[in-house]
């Protein structure tokens, strides 16, 4: 039998009764946890060169693999549209939130470096020269700019930087966000 015919037959054969909220909720939660576990395991076998895009791909691939497996076993459920929306509104934001948090795991923030360094002083405190020497270990600015150029956000011509098309898109997005959400004053004050 053709695989597509099998898949369509399977979907049509499954009961069309609305699924329990518990089943849908636990399944969605389980899918996200499964993807998290998969990420931890895969990263220990093979570390992707570009971790954030690989993370998003993994979180997309895991549900697809699960659904294809369930379809091949004849257990693919038919969900009411509201249940599909509910599942997506849980899974997708969780993936995005984890990806955002992952970026803070991937490279340590200078602010958290300062906090850790102060905490290690155990009540003795740190002077500004000590903090400057410690924060001086951060990736030099030029190296970070090179990463942005390699990532397609910036272009360089004779030592002069300008925005690429992609960079301009993100710059406009965050500029609009800064005005709409009133963060411009906070930026001027340094947060």
């Amino acid at each position: 039998m053709h695989p597509v015919y099998d898949l369509v037959t399977t979907v049509n054969r499954v009961s069309e009764a609305p699924k329990d909220h518990m089943v849908v909720s636990l399944s969605t939660l389980g899918l996200f946890v499964l993807a998290l576990v998969a990420q931890v395991l895969v990263w220990r076998i093979w570390l992707p060169p570009r971790q954030t895009p690989a993370l998003l791909v993994l979180f997309l691939v895991v549900p697809i693999v699960v659904f294809v497996t369930m379809a091949s076993l004849g257990r693919l459920p038919v969900l009411a549209p509201a249940d599909v929306v509910r599942a997506l509104l849980f899974y997708v934001p969780c993936v995005l939130a984890y990806t955002i948090l992952y970026s803070s795991f991937e490279m340590q923030s200078p602010t958290l470096m300062i906090v850790s360094y102060l905490a290690s002083a155990r009540g003795v405190g740190r002077t500004e020269p000590e903090l400057r020497a410690h924060i001086g270990q951060v990736t030099p600015l030029e190296q970070r700019l090179r990463i942005m150029i390699a990532g397609g956000l910036l272009t360089e011509d004779g030592g002069v930087l300008s925005l690429s098309g992609q960079g301009r898109f993100f710059a406009n997005l965050f500029e609009i966000g800064a005005r709409v959400f009133g963060v411009a004053q906070a930026i001027k004050r340094g947060g």
Binding site: L89, L112, V115, A121, L154, E156, L161, F170, G190
Partner: protein, 173 residues
């Protein structure tokens, strides 16, 4: 109708969150307060919609619906908070916005604007303003245990999510 309100409850919540944040930030110019007010409004909206949508469900289904609804709202709120926070703190985003304003900037000029001294002073000012750090006799001390707990949680999560050989210890942005 109730099923759709239940399904869209987190979305209504994050819309209320955003609306509340915008109104308070423009009225008071206090970002921290606006974020907290927005989150509270969003959570209340999510609770109201979830309560309406889950009325009549059996207890196990209602509990599951509440967990997913609140969890989804919190995840959306984290994304929203991150967008605002990155706009304030991210060096890469500041570089992008400066280039949008100035057109072109040389490497040298950019290095002068974002030197180690500037990076340190900006972050210390932020920590002092947020009362997470205090300065006494030219020495800096940690004031808020909450941020230290945050550092420990981030370090623990990093140890789980990223294998040791990949942890660079180098900062982002």
């Amino acid at each position: 109708m109730a099923a759709w309100i239940l399904a869209l409850a987190p979305l209504f919540g994050v819309l209320a969150d955003a609306l509340g944040q915008v109104v308070v930030s423009h009225a008071t110019a206090r970002i921290g307060v606006s974020i907290m007010v927005g989150f509270t409004l969003g959570l209340l909206a999510t609770i109201a919609c979830t309560g309406f949508g889950s009325a009549g469900l059996q207890l196990p289904d209602a509990i599951a619906a509440w967990v997913i609804s609140i969890g989804a709202f919190v995840a959306l709120a984290v994304c929203f908070w991150a967008f605002i926070n990155l706009n304030i703190t991210s060096l890469r985003i500041r570089v992008l916005r400066e280039l949008l304003q100035d057109g072109t900037i040389s490497f040298g000029a950019m290095s002068e604007r974002y030197s180690t001294d500037e990076m340190l002073s900006r972050r210390l000012e932020r920590l002092l303003n947020g009362k997470q750090v205090r300065c006494q006799a030219d020495r800096y001390y940690l004031k808020s245990p909450a941020i230290l707990i945050l550092v420990c949680l981030v370090d623990a999560a990093r140890a789980v999510a990223i294998p040791a050989r990949a942890r660079t210890g180098m900062p982002r942005s």
